[in-house]
Symmetry: none
Subunit: 290 residues, 2 copies
């Protein structure tokens, strides 16, 4: 009965709309306008809100080629499913061959990463920064490629909070640090799939010690995010086929450091100036020439 849907269900609906009975048009428009509710709420619920008969929804579905409302809704649900990376994969495939296929791939990668950045929640970062501001001490963890993110965060935070920030395992085996977590401290764990056992251990230790746990991960389902007080999400898999992308994690780390710095007020500002002055005094930097 239900022919394979070549078009998106919403398109099918729009196309068939004009040739439908009056009431079905009404209901069809309602579905098109509220397709999210259509996938989540019940048929009777929708009927009540649309001021129509429940049966009209079943009839509508059959009128445009589905076996019933259930099947239409299933199609709508699949059409809305997130993480559909189809646009990129399709494009990457089509461009794969050619003289400079690698150039196209790099462009795609950059574009994808740029698209991923704005999805990061600024609110979540601001909240996490407040936590860091209140913490007596800040521990940072990241393994494998996430180590670079951890070290960047460590570096920037230490610019204005030198003695209160530290990477887990920096001064000896990780295990020694795990026992040092205290309830008024904050522990930041950075990781994405596949997750390293070590990072999960750190997160669990932080949780057990009662320390505030901040997870920077690619999913709320990440094991280090369990029991975390703050979870900052980034997209690691935005570029197909290559290593996972870290730009999102870097952006989060830098935003987090900047927000924490702002909360520090004049005290943080003075610390930063002191650090900069010391670096300048030891002639770390190339002197500016006219």
């Amino acid at each position: 009965m239900a022919e394979p849907a070549k078009f998106s269900p919403l398109s099918e609906l729009r196309i068939a709309l004009p040739s439908l009975p009056l009431r079905l048009q009404e209901v069809g428009r309602f579905v098109a306008a509220n397709d999210y509710d259509a996938t989540t709420r019940s048929m009777r619920d929708l009927a009540a809100e649309a001021g129509a008969d429940p049966a009209a929804f079943t009839r509508l579905a059959k009128a445009i080629g589905y076996s019933g409302w259930d099947e239409l809704r299933a199609a709508l649900t699949e059409a809305r499913r997130p993480s559909q990376t189809s646009p990129f994969s399709a494009r990457a495939k089509s461009r794969r061959h050619g003289p400079n296929a690698d150039v196209a791939l790099i462009s795609d990668k950059l574009e994808a990463e740029a698209a991923g950045l704005p999805r990061i929640s600024a609110h979540a970062i601001a909240d996490a920064a407040r936590t860091l501001h209140d913490a007596k001490r800040i521990w940072i963890t990241g393994y494998r490629s996430c180590r670079s993110v951890a070290e960047l965060l460590n570096y920037e935070l230490r610019l204005f909070r030198p003695e209160q920030v530290q990477i887990v395992g920096a001064s000896g085996p990780d295990d020694l640090d795990l026992g040092a977590f205290r309830p008024d401290e904050a522990v930041i764990v950075i990781g994405f799939m596949p997750y390293t056992n070590a990072s999960v251990r750190v997160a669990q230790a932080a949780y057990r010690a009662g320390a505030t746990l901040i997870a920077i991960a690619d999913s709320v389902a990440a094991p280090m995010a369990e029991g975390a007080d703050h979870v900052l999400l980034f997209e690691a898999a935005s570029s197909p086929g290559f290593f996972p992308s870290l730009t999102g994690a870097i952006a989060i780390a830098q935003s987090l450091a900047a927000a924490t710095f702002l909360l520090g007020g004049t005290a943080a500002k003075k610390r930063l100036q002191d650090t900069e002055a010391r670096l300048a005094a030891t002639s770390t930097y190339v002197s500016e020439k006219g």
Copy 2:
């Protein structure tokens, strides 16, 4: 019963997760990982796929403060509602002097960084990758916050070229490495204003030794870009007032690594697979569960 949800339902779930019974944790993780299906499909369906008892879902919902699964699902549904186009609304609201003006700042920062990424030249990266592919050995340099970029590049390149990549100064004073540069080797120097003397010294040493010099910098006028065979530019100052942004540099580093990997062909692929297999064998990663 159902208290007003201050946090997102997924956050509540995550926070409560560790203190839950074993089987409830299991289904909780499943819900967190498949929250879209959780809002659209039926409880029994989910239970079948998760290999758990349907009752567990009801119990999970009650355990974290909801009156039942229906209410939890309703909360998840609302949290996912697409009309929440946070980037614009959040910024528009808090743009003024509010309690959290920092949120607006973070949003701006992220947006600015996203806008900066596509300006990176894919061609320049592809050319530089070709150089790296031909190099007998690859040296990497970055100081201060650029150290994280250097280490990420080092990490990713070593995944498929273990013995030919190394950070300058990794095994002793920098000066020792400076004398080791050879004409058939490549040296990558990463830096932005203000430039550190050390990085400039490395660049000059590479130039004198006749090694191929690749500069990743914020300007063609950067001192380490003088005499460089390849200059990859990124925008460091895109966010006003804060620390310079490193997302551009990270994006370049990752694209560079990916492009070099592609040039490596099957040999590089095999190396990477070997590395991954070794990591898996030593149980570095959290084992995936069905």
